[in-house]
Structure formats: C-alpha cells, structure tokens
C-alpha cells in the first residue's frame, strides 16, 4: 500500500488519541518522531518556533482536502491569540509506523500531546541546533533565540524529554 503524506499526518494525530492542539505542537512532534525513526521523508528548516517542515504543512492541507483531518480553532484567554485544534477523521494506517512500531508511536504521541508546547518547542530546537546546525554551544544559542521562553527549568525539562526519547543532546560547550 502506498503511503501518502496525508496518511502520515493523520496517523500521527490518531496515534496521539485523535486530537491535537496547535500547528507548533504538530510540527515539533513530527520532527521528534522523525529523529527517533518515523522516516516521514519530510524536509525541515529552522523557522520561527524551531524546526519546521513545509512538507508537513502541505500534508496537513492534503489531509484536510481529502477529508481525513478537521481543523478547528481555540483562543488564548490573555490576548485572544488563536491556535488550531486538529481532529483525525481518517483511520490510522499502521504501515506509517512500520519503522517505529505503532506501539512506540502511540506512546510517544500521547506523551507529546500532554507535554507543554513550549517544552516541546525547546526540545525540538535543542535537537535541531546540535544535530543539524552543529552548534556545540546549543544552550547559549537556544537562550539567544528563545530569550525569556528558555528558562532554566524549562530547558531542564526539554533535555529530560529528549533523554527519555533516546535523543540526549551532547554537553553544551557553554553549559
């Protein structure tokens, strides 16, 4: 069976329980799943919230167009900023997780769904900085890019998350 990109995004959301909030969470989740072996084939580049894939963005559009995914919106109370709420309508194709195993995909996605999105963002950014940008001083770099978001307690949680996934970052040159 051919795996299309909309199958990947639908399966990822279904694996997390069928509902997922925000594009940032979805982007960072799929990026981290790729680092542990999902093999989506999506390309990533550094964007405003860290690693971002336009391929994934297009996959979301395909999944919506083919009626596999529904996108609604929620709002932050403080300033009314809106965020997406995705609901998977299509069935999960287990073939999507042939490399990762459906069980691990489901456990990992449920963890991501429950993780604070800022921690997820920091974790994906740390991984991106040392793995792809080859930043030996990833800690000072992430503080520079994320400023007040990169509190020490959050960085510690992000590193714990990465370690739990089997993706521990190397010691930062500036740590």
């Amino acid at each position: 069976m051919t795996i299309e990109r909309e199958d990947i995004v639908t399966a990822v959301i279904a694996a997390g329980g069928g509902r997922l909030t925000s594009r940032v969470r979805l982007q960072k989740s799929v990026y981290l799943l790729d680092q542990i072996g999902l093999g989506s084939g999506f390309d990533y580049a550094y964007h405003h919230y860290g690693p971002y894939s336009r391929d994934l963005d297009n996959a979301i559009a395909d999944a919506k167009a083919f009626d596999l995914l529904e996108e609604g919106y929620g709002r932050r109370q403080s300033d009314g900023a809106s965020y997406s709420i995705f609901a998977a309508k299509g069935e999960m194709k287990p073939e999507v997780f042939a490399r990762l195993s459906p069980k691990r995909a489901s456990e990992t996605m449920r963890l991501f769904v429950e993780t604070n999105v800022t921690i997820l963002e920091l974790a994906a950014t740390i991984d991106w900085l040392w793995r792809f940008e080859k930043r030996k001083d990833w800690r000072s770099e992430v503080k520079k890019r994320k400023s007040v978001k990169a509190r020490e307690d959050r960085l510690a949680k992000a590193v714990d998350l990465l370690t739990g996934l089997g993706l521990p970052p190397p010691s930062s040159a500036a740590a």
Binding site: A61, A65, G74, D79, T118, K149
Partner: protein, 287 residues
C-alpha cells in the same frame, strides 16, 4: 510597512494602499506573550509594538493591502515561475562550485564571480571552528555582492556555459521564454479536486519532476494574518490592538481578519516543454 508602499509604487499596482501616517501616529508599546498560544505553564510577555484601538480600521486595511499585494504581485504565477527558474539556474551553478578546474567552462563565469566564490566556499566542510568562522565570513562577503544586478548581469556569460541546463535557463530568462505554467486553479477552487489532479500530475511526470524539467511549486500560500510570533526577534510581526487597556491579537477583534485567516495555497507546475504542460492540463485531450 515601508516595503508595501515601495512595491506598490514600483509595480504600478492600484491595490495595496495603506494609511501610513495614521498607523504610525497610533503605534504604542505593550506587553505581549510570546509563547505558542496553547502553552500551559504560564506566559512570558515581552515589550513590543502594538496599535491603539483607533487604528483598528487602518490595521485591517494594512493587512488587506499586504494580502492583495501577495496575491497580485509576490505570488503571481509569472513572478513565481521566474523565481523557480532562477533557483534552478543557481542550483545548477552551485553543483559546479566546488570544482575549481572546470567551474569556468561549465558555468561560463570567471572564478572571481561572487556566485562562484559563494558556492565554492564551504564552511560546513571546515576541519575546525576557527576555519569554519573564517569561511563563513568569506561566504557572507560573496553573498552580499549577489544582488539582482549581479545575477541579471551575468546571464550573458552563463549563456555560454558548457552545462546545457545553465546555458538554456540563462537564455530563456534573458529572452523571457519562460516555462509554461499550469495553475491548479484551472480545475476550480475545490481543494480536494485540485489535489487529485496534483497526484495525477505527480505520477505522470515523476521522472521529469526529479530532473526539474517540470517544477512543482506548492510553497506559495497566504492568509491575511499568519500568526508568526514565536521567537523574540519576531514579536514585532504580531499585530496587537490595545483593547480595554491591554493588547489583544487582531484576529480576536476584527471579524474581517478572522474571516480571511484561513491559509490559501496556490499549487502550480512549471513545464520546460509546452507540450508537457498541455498534456498535463488536458489528460484526455480535451480542450
């Protein structure tokens, strides 16, 4: 805001006017959260620009102007086609950048041309940090010389390139013999229908997409207000209006912006051969 005014003037489009003076008069500074909107453990606000409530109509007009200019200028199919042809040309030059013995003959460019010095400098291959920084500086110096005129002015030389792809693209760009475009809007606005046609074209032209004889462009998308936000340096790109003494995101206050906030994607294919474009457009030979 400045680029909207300049581009409107230089392209001659009647769309995209903004009330610059009124907007500037109502700029304020306020605390705005920079977390993703669904963050759950508190917010970290930063001081940034926002607008007084009186400027809401002008802010809507500004977003609408930006949206229109994107539709009619930046994402116009001809603009995008030329950009993709130039990108293909530059990729072809880049492939020869690391071959000093043959780069001149294959690209038609002298070894001192900033395109060659830029693509020939590889900080990522440096043996140590000191060398990497040195190469990054060199690459940056070359990059800064690569303005529109440097590229357009080198097309004459690239027409003489030994690499046929470079020679052909340089000639086409000079003579404005652009690739032929198929916009999926040809099949109507229904996204599901457009994407089914995209799948068909992807399948039929898979080999030519691989060799870039056919270029697929699905990177052009707009919404009237993309919530950019995120990193600190981007905070100024959010648009907040002071409402009851505190900044609120414009989507929360403006029904007009809220209505147009869904992202619209333009998917196009650019064909080197007109016959391929025609075959892709009319798979059953229908006009």
């Amino acid at each position: 805001m400045d680029y909207l005014r300049r581009d409107r003037l230089m392209t001659g489009t009647g769309a995209g006017a903004i009330d610059f003076d009124w907007l500037m008069e109502h700029v304020r500074v306020g605390w705005v959260p920079i977390e993703a909107p669904d963050a759950m453990d508190g917010e970290e606000p930063v001081l940034t620009f926002c607008l007084d409530a009186k400027a809401l109509p002008a802010a809507e007009q500004f977003l609408l102007a930006r949206y229109t200019l994107h539709q009619q200028v930046y994402l116009h199919k001809t603009t995008r086609c030329v950009e993709h042809m130039i990108a293909k040309l530059l990729r072809a030059v880049a492939r020869h950048g690391g071959e000093p013995d043959t780069v001149g003959a294959l690209t038609g460019l002298p070894a001192t041309h900033p395109l060659i010095t830029f693509f020939g400098t590889r900080p990522d291959l440096a043996p140590d940090e000191g060398r990497r920084l040195e190469l990054e500086k060199r690459a940056l110096a070359s990059y800064l010389l690569l303005d529109d005129m440097a590229i357009i002015g080198s097309l004459d030389k690239m027409r003489m390139a030994g690499d046929k792809v470079i020679a052909d693209l340089a000639a086409r760009l000079q003579e404005r013999r652009l690739y032929k475009t198929l916009d999926l809007a040809h099949y109507g606005q229904e996204e599901g229908v457009q994407r089914k046609h995209a799948r068909r074209i992807d399948r039929v032209f898979a080999g030519k997409i691989e060799t870039e004889e056919v270029i697929k462009d699905e990177g052009a998308s707009i919404s009237i207000y993309t919530r950019i936000g995120g990193d600190d340096e981007r905070t100024h790109k959010k648009l907040h209006i002071v409402d009851a003494g505190k900044p609120a995101e414009i989507t929360h206050l403006s029904p007009l912006v809220e209505t147009l906030k869904d992202k619209k994607t333009y998917t196009r294919y650019y064909f080197e051969a007109e016959s391929d474009r025609d075959a892709a457009r009319n798979p059953k030979g229908k006009p």
